[in-house]
Subunit: 409 residues, 2 copies
Amino acid sequence: MGTELLLGQIVDTNSSFIGEQLSVAGIDSYFQTKVGDNWDRIKDALLLALDRSDAVIVCGGLGPTQDDITRGVIADVMGVPLERDPDVEDRIRSMFGTRGRDMPENNLRQADVPKGAAVLPVQPGTAPGLLAPLTVGRDEKVIYAVPGVPWEMQQMITQAVLPDLQRRAGITATIRSRVIRTWGQSESGIAEQLAPYHDELEQRGHATLAFLASGIEGLKVRLTAKAASAAEADDILAKEVELVATILGDSVFTTDDESMEQVVLRLCQARGITLGTAESITGGLIAQRLTDVPGASSVFRGGVVSYSSDVKHDLLGVPRGPVVSDEAAEAMALGACRVLGCDASVAATGVAGPEPQEGHKPGTVFLATCVDGEAGSLMVRLPGDRERVRQFSCISVLDVLRRRLLARA
Amino acid sequence: MGTELLLGQIVDTNSSFIGEQLSVAGIDSYFQTKVGDNWDRIKDALLLALDRSDAVIVCGGLGPTQDDITRGVIADVMGVPLERDPDVEDRIRSMFGTRGRDMPENNLRQADVPKGAAVLPVQPGTAPGLLAPLTVGRDEKVIYAVPGVPWEMQQMITQAVLPDLQRRAGITATIRSRVIRTWGQSESGIAEQLAPYHDELEQRGHATLAFLASGIEGLKVRLTAKAASAAEADDILAKEVELVATILGDSVFTTDDESMEQVVLRLCQARGITLGTAESITGGLIAQRLTDVPGASSVFRGGVVSYSSDVKHDLLGVPRGPVVSDEAAEAMALGACRVLGCDASVAATGVAGPEPQEGHKPGTVFLATCVDGEAGSLMVRLPGDRERVRQFSCISVLDVLRRRLLARA
């Protein structure tokens, strides 16, 4: 809920959180609706939601200002008045007291509760959450209202709303997921390779499969299982993950949802190899991604961003001549190992666009790796805009190094 | 749309983008709904949306796999069959042709178009967007379908959907925004400084003010005006932006919503100065951000990511001893200018966490700049986790360089 959300002034991470938590708790969630701070439209959205669902979670609009009308609308939907809750009023007064600040009077609006509704037992901030039971036709339904402030919302959802929902639903089942990540094949290629398995899986009926192209994070294959206990769901997933990994072979770079950088750093560490980078087209992105991983310093020594041709020639020893070529990429990789004193390196040079360079179209990239003093390279043509070309270059060259390190072992 | 969204597996930035664009284009948007990849529920959501709105934008479900059912559901809602569009089929075949990859047959599903619908004239990827006109009761309505891939969706929305929507709506009132970005003061500091102006603005009543702390993008101050024409709104904004910029002084680094990197590159270019980086704590982030700007190559020569102490000492000439210090930061900045052959540089060394280093707590960062052979540095204590510390280091050190360049002119 909220006009700021509709206007895109803030990104809605709350509904992602709530969706994920509901899924993990085994509660089916079918609809999410955002609606502006308008009484009639909120009321319509609530009535519709109650018509098609057993429970509705409303997020936001519980603050102290005149915009915060959720309490009133819920009372309207229930057909009851708002009543000031003396316990909540005391709590709000004392919260302001302990922080030594004068309390604006309108904060007490937050103590208004629809008659027949209860205040949620968890209240991290000043805004109380609500649990509003109501009868629709012959059915007992419930509205939960939580604040839009993420940390307040999250505590209320996990500690109060989910347990209540599970109790009402008589939930016994648990849903768990595992994510396999792949690189080197298209989404449709992976889907085709897994098609016979997918059919078998549907017949077994205890797990589902989904694909998600995720840019620099790789192409994700998610297995989800529903079972009576978490342990049982995990057992099912362990077997299915192994089957998928066998079918997809060396395109799989992780069965534990790691990033490509984590995987490469782990492989280097296991082999006692130090790593460096020489970047032109990626402009520092590879180094930045590697150093995003806590503990990278045990493997990663550093990098050279050789954006201008002079830096390529003078610092990395790339021969004078074309800088968008196999030779230049390999010289960059060798130069990185020499200048940074590392055992292995990755290098990328190419055309990010929008303009062509040295006669090559945007998306033309030369990727090189160096391991044990031996450099190798390949040319790739990458789709998309400047940012995507840079991101695909990063994961692609790290994937080449990953395959070389695996072959070396 | 999409099960991944409901399950919270990906955060929904698309609906924020669409909401913001609609708002700027002067189109009222009242509802956003997310629904899983289920035929009946998508159909119900579409029928409901058509009932309460004149136009509906559907995002996602246009890919090549069996999950991608948006095309079919729209045809169902229109009461028409799907027909394969030969032009789109040719385009898809030729896209695969130029990349030299075999095309899985199911990609051709993307050429299926509901009879009576048109393909959007903008198609950045393989998935075509749709414009599906239909009659509901006595009213002419329209469904737009765009892919869920952000860069494809964004191009289609701005270049095809919005112009069509504005034409249909006969838009006359226009909402326009300008964003001023600042660095160096807290959000509450900026708000306090602007409080008297804010009151005046409310009395004038033709524009509104909002603050948005945006991490590495700076602290944004957004002015929004509504007027009969874009030109009139722009005139109002030009005057108000000047007032705000005068009040906030040199904390303002742009009145045109540029990134700090764009501003620094522009200032360097105007002074004929080349730029380099020496990064430890930021691990390549500064170089990556600078090279995100198209045309950076006219100013930015390159960078050294000196993550290990050896690279600091051996390549950049940092004296043996502590590497988290003013001296080390200044030596890095001087070393960058020497090794990369550039006129100015920025350098950052510090503790990103989670562990302390050389007796300094996480968040302790030394920032240095070098201009005309003269290095200077300062220590900052930055809040937040590893990622935030790195991001704040990046914008903070570039801001120091910005102020030095302005003082030099």
